[in-house]
């Protein structure tokens, strides 16, 4: 029983308002100091370094910095003015832009955390300026960031393909429909909420064509950034992680020499925002990795998974149970890690019951991503809340309807294989 002590302790520390990263680290320390002494305690510090030693993690500071530079250089404002002139007369317009951006630009960062961080910096200030509640903004930003990793070439799609021995191509193609459904479900929910709350449109009537053209002209340099990045990646100039650094450079050049709003004197603030935004997120990721170390050593996720498989041999019931398990695991462990641990355990059982492995992969990834937005733990939830300084209580209240929408999509994806497999089967 004592092996579950760290989990209990984690909840207690949480309630005492101990910072999340410290709660995770302190409960894991109890395990390594008192419960499992087969590993020299100092070696736990390995995990503090190795959890941060991964090149793809660099996407986080890069995209936070992109967001920050865009704000100081007038790029975000010109993009948002364009968006506003196009759909500002519709209720909840900018909230839709937030979702659309995660879907369209998802392939750029491929990381839900990087996406959440960047949009917290770019979109959230503009949304609050135009009258959206900050917690509502935070909830949309976090929920929509779960779409990015489902869009190719998300790293999770590749890792799953390798674990499950399926075609990477097929995984890539299978991602499009689910991502589109997630986006659609969020937009529908947002439309309902915006109407109920009577969020006033930012303009009373549709902007005239002349005004739209004016903003389009002003936004052209800004629009070059996403296009440049997407083209650069398609033509193999750089990898998704490198794209972040290139985007920083592009934004700085456009801000300094074209919009001329960016000043050298802005840089200390940009650096401070980048560093603090990155580190508050990274500390939680590191804490989760260390807590995951304890869970892995005790094989807790595996034990739960094998127990599940023994419970039922009904395909639909098992998938439902797995959904629940992944949602809970996605709350505690970073998504990629959870997938690596659980896929080899769950896959044989579901294959036996006739589930298509590509279909199952999409279920797993969508599921874990939703887990990242679900309270009480969730990496994207923490990312957005720490950057926007939103209280968790307020966030939770606002994110519930959005979560519900995403869960409905998850159910649809789980129980109609055709939705996922339709595109890959065309090939």
């Amino acid at each position: 029983m004592e092996i579950y002590l760290p989990i209990i302790m984690l909840f207690v520390l949480f309630l005492l308002n101990v910072p999340i990263a410290f709660s995770l680290i302190a409960s894991s320390l109890v395990y390594f100091l008192f419960i499992n002494t087969s590993i020299p305690v100092s070696l736990v510090m390995q995990r503090f370094i190795s959890s941060a030693s991964s090149f793809p993690l660099l996407a986080i500071p890069f995209f936070i910095m992109v967001g920050s530079v865009m704000n100081y250089s007038g790029i975000s404002r010109s993009l948002l003015s364009l968006a506003d002139s196009l759909i500002g007369h519709k209720t909840g317009g900018l909230a839709h832009v937030n979702v659309a951006l995660s879907t369209l630009m998802g392939g750029i960062s491929g990381s839900a955390n990087a996406d959440a961080a960047m949009q917290s910096k770019i979109l959230a200030p503009e949304m609050t300026k135009r009258g959206y509640d900050l917690p509502f903004t935070a909830a949309i930003t976090a929920a929509s960031s779960s779409i990015s990793p489902v869009i190719p070439p998300g790293i999770n799609l590749i890792i799953y393909a390798l674990l499950a021995n399926v075609s990477v191509h097929e995984m890539f193609i299978a991602g499009y429909v689910p991502a589109f459904m997630m986006a659609l479900s969020l937009m529908v929910t947002i439309a309902i909420i915006a109407r109920r709350r009577k969020y006033a449109p930012s303009r009373t009537e549709a902007a005239p064509a002349k005004e739209r053209l004016h903003y389009l002209g002003k936004a052209i340099p800004a629009l070059l950034i996403p296009f440049g990045i997407i083209l650069g990646m398609r033509f193999g100039l750089f990898t998704p992680t490198e794209a972040g650094a290139i985007a920083v450079l592009l934004c700085a050049i456009i801000g300094l020499f074209i919009y001329r709003e960016l000043k050298v004197s802005h840089f200390p603030a940009i650096f401070k925002e980048t560093i603090q935004g990155t580190s508050s997120v990274m500390f939680i990721i590191i804490g989760a990795m260390i807590f995951g170390y304890y869970m892995t050593l005790e094989q807790i996720p595996q034990n739960v998974a094998s127990a599940l498989i023994l419970v039922t041999d009904n395909k639909l019931v098992l998938l439902m149970l797995i959904n629940l398990l992944l949602l809970i695991v996605g709350m505690f462990i970073e998504g990629g890690a959870a997938m690596i641990i659980l896929t080899p355990l769950l896959l044989p059982a579901v294959l036996n019951l006739g589930v298509n492995p590509v279909h199952f992969g999409i279920i797993v990834i969508v599921n874990i991503m939703i887990g990242g937005v679900t309270p009480p733990f969730g990496s994207m939830m923490f990312t957005v809340c720490s950057i926007l300084k939103v209280k968790l209580v307020d966030f939770v209240r606002e994110v519930l309807p959005l979560l519900f929408a995403l869960l409905v999509v998850l159910m649809l994806l789980t129980y109609s294989e055709g939705l996922v497999m339709f595109l890959p089967n065309l090939l």
Binding site: S38, L43, I158, L162, V168, P344
Partner: protein
């Protein structure tokens, strides 16, 4: 892979001897051959020691791997690290030379090398540094070039951006072969090859098949520039906790596992070559003599290695080849 019957059996023995739990950490994934063989071997060890030696296998880099893996062993954790010989180079530099480029022509040559006095001396030396080599006979295949272009000589490789793991030995070797090595994280490599960030990678037949690289790279040039092998390492302090009977069982089962691994590997090599050919992958032989000559200088680029290490390894190899 754990069977419930083992734990009940272990409970009886636990009254006399405290059962020992050991974590075995490796980066290979669950369904790879090497992992499967190690799971089989550790299951047998658990069974034959009545649960007294409980080695839990953690594949896929769930626990610390690479240098952190060895660090666990050196600092006396209840741990078995599974890593290639070059990782011992941090402790006894010449060990890394045994994993150097263009040495072995066949799996048997490598296995014979592990039985030489040269290796026995190095093993004794590294044991003094806190690493006992349990077994070094596990292989996972020769590494070749995986690209979209037939490579026969160094000229064909000139200027090609080739993904390598982040290791100086790989970087030096690929540079000397004429390529431009780029260290990219493995998960980014598939999309990297597809979109042209790199022109290819280097890896084994098993890697090419199991990571689906054949979807984006259609040629394998059989350079055999490295032989992929791993050793199993444990702390001598932990080793001494076992009874002599337990030690014997562990040695026997790991040795049997290595033999089974090699047999399966040879089978899979030809099976996967056929499968890859069916999927449209072309194989070609290369000018090995030229690559051997070019990579010879790599052995001079590591100041920590003994000056004569390449010639000593060469002498052993000649003896091995003469005996065949």
């Amino acid at each position: 892979g754990e069977k419930p019957t083992d734990t009940t059996k272990g409970a009886d023995v636990a009254k006399t001897v405290e059962p020992i739990d050991i974590n075995m950490s490796l980066v290979f994934t669950q369904n790879e051959l090497l992992t499967q063989e190690l799971i089989k071997a550790t299951d047998k060890i658990r069974e034959r020691t009545d649960g007294g030696v409980n080695i839990k296998v953690y594949p896929g880099g769930q626990l610390p791997v690479y240098k952190d893996n060895l660090e666990q062993v050196v600092n006396g954790a209840d741990w078995i690290a599974v890593e290639d010989l070059s990782y011992l180079g941090d402790y006894v530099p010449d060990f890394a030379a045994l994993a150097g480029p263009m040495l072995y022509n066949s799996y048997d040559e490598y296995l014979a090398m592990m039985d030489t006095k040269l290796v026995a001396d190095l093993t004794a030396e590294v044991e003094k540094k806190g690493i006992k080599v349990l077994n070094a006979d596990y292989m996972f295949g020769f590494r070749h070039m995986i690209t979209n272009k037939e490579i026969k000589s160094s000229a064909d490789m000139s200027g090609m951006r080739i993904r390598v793991p982040g290791s100086q030995l790989f970087i030096s070797t690929l540079t000397s072969m004429g390529a431009a090595p780029a260290s990219l994280p493995f998960p980014e490599t598939y999309a990297g090859v597809q979109q042209g960030v790199v022109d290819g990678l280097e890896g084994s037949i098993l890697t090419m098949y199991s990571t689906k690289m054949y979807e984006v790279a259609k040629n394998m040039s059989l350079t055999k520039h490295f032989l992929g092998t791993v050793g199993l390492y444990i702390s001598p302090k932990v080793w001494d906790k076992f009874t002599p009977e337990q030690q014997q069982i562990i040695n026997e089962e790991l040795a049997a596992g290595a033999i089974s691994n090699t047999t399966e590997l040879v089978k899979l090599d030809s099976e996967y070559t056929q499968k890859l050919q069916d999927l449209g992958v072309k194989f070609n032989e290369v000018d090995s003599a030229e690559f051997s000559k070019l990579t010879a200088d790599v052995y001079n680029q590591f100041p920590a290695w003994s000056d004569d290490i390449r010639s000593r390894i060469g002498a052993e190899l000649e003896k091995i080849r003469a005996a065949e």
